[in-house]
Symmetry: C2
Subunit: 108 residues, 2 copies
Amino acid sequence: MDERTNNQSDASKTLPCEDEIYELAELFKMFGDPTRVKILSCLQIRNMYVGEIAETLGMTISAVSHQLRVLRGAKLVKGIKEGKEVRYSLDDDHVTKILEYGLTHVNE
Amino acid sequence: MDERTNNQSDASKTLPCEDEIYELAELFKMFGDPTRVKILSCLQIRNMYVGEIAETLGMTISAVSHQLRVLRGAKLVKGIKEGKEVRYSLDDDHVTKILEYGLTHVNE
DNA sequence: TGAACAGTTGAGGAATTGTTCAAACGATTG
DNA sequence: CAATCGTTTGAACAATTCCTCAACTGTTCA
């Protein structure tokens, strides 16, 4: 049995470069924490204020805010100040698709 | 501006259940580490023995083996013993798609 | 102005993670 | 059988992660 007994048909494949690898890992890391997945799922339902998210998930406002900061850093959500409150929404079309794809996989 | 000013058109959405969330996070966690992404990328090119992976990535055999164990646990790769060596391959069609999707996103 | 509210931030600590090192394992070879 | 090879494993350690708590900012409203 030779090396090419492999489900990837084409041989012209190559490793992504170091930078891509790290960015990729950084992206997926965002989806690799239950709290962040919950927050993103919340925002998939509708845009919410920090307090709403916290209440929906039964978490501290502080904990939610910390994670929102991380998600903001990854450009996955954005927050817009509206008076005292900050309304958060998904900042990236890919978020929904990636989550959906993962869910399909998990429930296969 | 009411709450439904939202890019998700349909309102009939709901949070995934706790178990799904955790499985989902667990899945994405696998892709959330550069070393594991590298290993998976290696196996996308072709099936490899542990030593080959280690050499390709310039890593310790031990480090690679540890990560392969994690990936095996997640059912993302599988190893088949062939004499002294163990040949690893991707164990899941989704792996390639998820990585590709992430790469597209990163390079957009 | 000042009290109340919504949210952010930083320090601190417990838990988890990824690596290295050394020891062990099973299969092959002399 | 003993030596060697490819791999796995466990302990130990440093680094990172996520939460809590308390302090702080900025906005509203009486």
